[in-house]
């Protein structure tokens, strides 16, 4: 574009180009000159897992899964960074490997004042808005519920999306972060794998673009965040607030709702009805007890409350087609249930730093069903983790979780090496 502009003669063009030229000149003067750098830090993750799962008619099924991940990060420049993460999965039931690109982005920073910089991020990556390990009503970007949560990992949620974001500091511990989300076809949010591939060749409309901003700072001793997102794909406005503090134990909470925009796809005609029906709040409590002999015990309880959703057990679970507030456009992938309350609990006991036992649980108290993930991880050498875990569902077939469902019970072992 610059080259084309330079070929167009005439005083009007020259005057129009002047402010831009001046801006470039000022930026050029401010930005420290940096030598081109090709230094790359790489991280390789290899994982092999074997699982036995109960299928239909109580038949036991066996499957193996292999994962290879290559993570390339640029190094050497304090002003530009790039990261490319490639992930390949192969399953014993399907020898064709699935390739994912969970992360591919560039970051660049520019002077804001004499003492501070702002930075830009563009590409496929993750931004975590709000607070919560599993439930996070303040996460307007990826939803209050995670998609494809991994209850055996330290980080349960790891969805990424194509986006462009800017980070402007407002003092030492406050900032504002505007973001634009490239419209993605349904299923493409997540790991950048199958969903994106399935939707290939179907470009999304420009008016489906989403955009928003968050502001984070401190109110007294409480970390506070306010955010807003306009979701173009469904045309709604979504404000959210998140707070994090400590009252003897750590606590965090978030709240959000949705308000229909023009030509909204939300099933509400009235904004007040929509705001009420789509309201959601999440809360979390965290306590870590460091004991003698190197032991530590982590206790976490989180909840997701949707006050105007179903509070009585119903067999017609999922009949309410509305996507709960804060969820991704792909819907409520974790449960499919529009119940008013869900709980997540976590107990992690570390008898030593290289050994960990955990129990993670998602409970749907309305229909008294749940998912339990007990496991153990041993890290005997740098980068090596040996794991044994199970996933057990409790409940009836019509519940959110059901023992009798295919996959209602599974046991797996895995070995992972990061180097």
């Amino acid at each position: 574009m610059v080259g084309r502009a330079n070929t167009r003669p005439g005083p009007a063009t020259s005057q129009a180009a002047l402010p831009g030229t001046l801006l470039l000149a000022v930026l050029a003067a401010l930005i420290p000159s940096q030598p081109a750098s090709a230094e790359v830090n790489q991280r390789v993750t290899l994982e092999a897992a074997h699982a036995v799962t109960r299928g239909e008619d109580d038949e036991l099924l066996a499957a193996g899964t292999g994962l290879a991940e290559l993570d390339l990060r640029s190094a050497g420049s304090r002003y530009v960074r790039g990261r490319l993460q490639l992930r390949a999965r192969v399953e014993s039931n399907d020898p064709a490997a699935e390739l994912e690109v969970p992360r591919a982005f560039i970051k660049a920073r520019f002077p804001l004042t004499e003492e501070s910089y702002f930075h830009l991020t563009a590409g496929r990556t993750r931004l975590t808005w709000g607070d919560g390990a599993f439930y996070n009503a303040g996460d307007t970007l990826f939803g209050a519920l995670g998609e494809n949560p991994d209850f055996t990992a330290d980080t349960i949620r790891d969805e990424t999306s194509w986006l462009a974001a800017a980070f402007f500091p407002l003092g030492r511990f406050a900032f504002v972060e505007p973001v634009v989300l490239v419209p993605l076809p349904e299923g493409a949010i997540g790991s950048g794998g199958a969903g994106a591939a399935a939707a290939a060749g179907e470009p999304a409309a420009a008016h489906d673009t989403s955009g928003g901003v968050r502001v984070q700072g401190k109110l007294g001793e409480i970390k506070s965040e306010a955010s807003y997102l306009f979701r173009g794909t469904e045309s709604y406005h979504q404000p959210a607030v998140s707070l994090q503090g400590n009252l003897g134990i750590d606590w965090y909470a978030g709240a959000t709702t949705r308000i229909p925009g023009p030509d909204s796809r939300l099933p509400w005609d009235d904004a007040a009805d929509a705001a009420r029906e789509e309201a959601a709040a999440s809360f979390g409590l965290l306590h870590i007890e460091e004991g003698a002999s190197g032991q530590s015990l982590t206790l976490r309880l989180e909840g997701l409350v949707r006050p105007w959703k179903e509070w009585e057990e119903t067999d017609a679970r999922g009949a309410d087609a509305a996507v709960p507030a804060g969820d991704t456009a792909a819907g409520d992938a974790a449960t499919g249930a529009p119940y008013g309350l869900e709980l997540f609990g976590e107990v992690v006991w570390q008898p030593a730093q290289s050994l960990q036992f955990y129990l993670r649980n998602v409970t749907s108290p309305i229909d008294a069903s749940g998912l339990f993930v007990p496991g153990a991880a041993w890290m005997p050498y740098d980068g090596l983790t040996l794991s044994l875990f199970a996933a057990l569902q409790a409940g009836e077939v019509s519940d959110v979780y059901g023992w009798q469902r295919p996959g209602g019970a599974s046991v797996a072992t895995s070995i992972r090496y990061v180097y």
């Binding site: 830090n41 991280r43 390789v44 993570d71 990060r73 960074r81 970051k107 920073r109 003492e115 501070s116 910089y117 702002f118 930075h119 990556t125 993750r126 931004l127 975590t128 980080t155 949620r157 790891d158 980070f167 500091p169 030492r172 511990f173 406050a174 900032f175 984070q216 001793e221 970390k223 994090q244 503090g245 400590n246 003897g248 134990i249 750590d250 965290l286 306590h287 870590i288 007890e289 460091e290 003698a292 002999s293 190197g294 530590s296 030593a352 730093q353 290289s354 050994l355 041993w378 890290m379 005997p380 050498y381 740098d382 980068g383 990061v418 180097y419």
Partner: protein
């Protein structure tokens, strides 16, 4: 890990000539050396316990006793950062682009499984602000004469109500330290294994910490490279740098 920052600061104390002083003077000389420095340190932390061993590499920028930014560079933790300014501690996880403010119980977590906690990083006030100090003895450690100092906390908001320090009487470098609970129970022991000379200054380059409440565990801090008195702009210790 008031310790982690402190350890690095301690490690960077310049050598000064020996002289007989009161406990306050010894502490003042120790702290005068460590509070006027900026530094950039590359090193590794080796954590041993009953079930295995783990090595974490890091780069740390420090300014005085209040500001520190640590970036972990080893493969598993690459890009994770810890920022401390005064009593504030923030963590940054690059995979999630997540910024976490540590408070309350979370401060008692050990940092990446080491024998030092995030709490040790906070409130890095001078010894004389929070302790009564006295010289109790003179002992040799590895052949080096040391002043032995006992410190009793004057306020309750300190991680260790009682401490015992062995300060090299010639180099004014910490040779050993013991931290005690209010009950008198020994909590942690820090020992200097090796010294490094850089730009005419001598400082510890290999420190071992043993948490006495943990069985068969120890954490080693090993400095590979240290640059001191360098220009560190304010923005290094900001949330923008943390999230960069």
């Amino acid at each position: 890990m008031k310790r982690f920052a402190l350890l690095i600061c301690i490690a960077l104390l310049p050598a000064v000539s020996a002289a007989a002083q009161s406990a306050e003077e010894i502490i003042q000389r120790l702290e005068a050396n460590q509070t006027h420095e900026t530094s950039r340190v590359e090193g590794r932390m080796v954590i041993h316990d009953r079930f295995g061993r783990r090595t974490t590499e890091f780069i740390m920028f420090a300014r005085g006793t209040d500001d520190a930014l640590i970036e972990f560079t080893s493969a598993e933790e690459a890009g994770q950062k810890v920022l401390r300014t005064g009593d504030e501690i923030y963590l940054y996880y690059p995979d999630a682009s997540e910024l976490i403010r540590l408070q309350g119980a979370a401060l008692r977590q050990s940092m990446l499984g080491s024998d030092v906690s995030y709490e040790d990083m906070t409130g890095n006030r001078g010894y004389l602000d929070t302790y009564d100090v006295r010289v109790t003895d003179r002992e040799e450690i590895d052949g080096s004469p040391c002043h032995v100092l006992e410190l009793e906390a004057t306020s309750r908001d300190v991680a260790y109500p009682r401490q015992k320090l062995w300060v090299d009487a010639e180099l004014y470098v910490m040779r050993k330290a013991e931290q005690y609970a209010l009950s008198g129970r020994l909590l942690k022991v820090m020992e200097v294994e090796e010294l490094m000379r850089e730009e005419g200054k001598i400082f510890p380059s290999h420190i071992t910490i043993r948490d006495q409440l943990k069985q068969d565990t120890r954490t080693e801090f090993i400095i590979e490279e240290a640059r001191i008195n360098i220009d560190l702009p304010n923005r290094i210790f900001s949330v923008e740098e943390l999230t960069w």
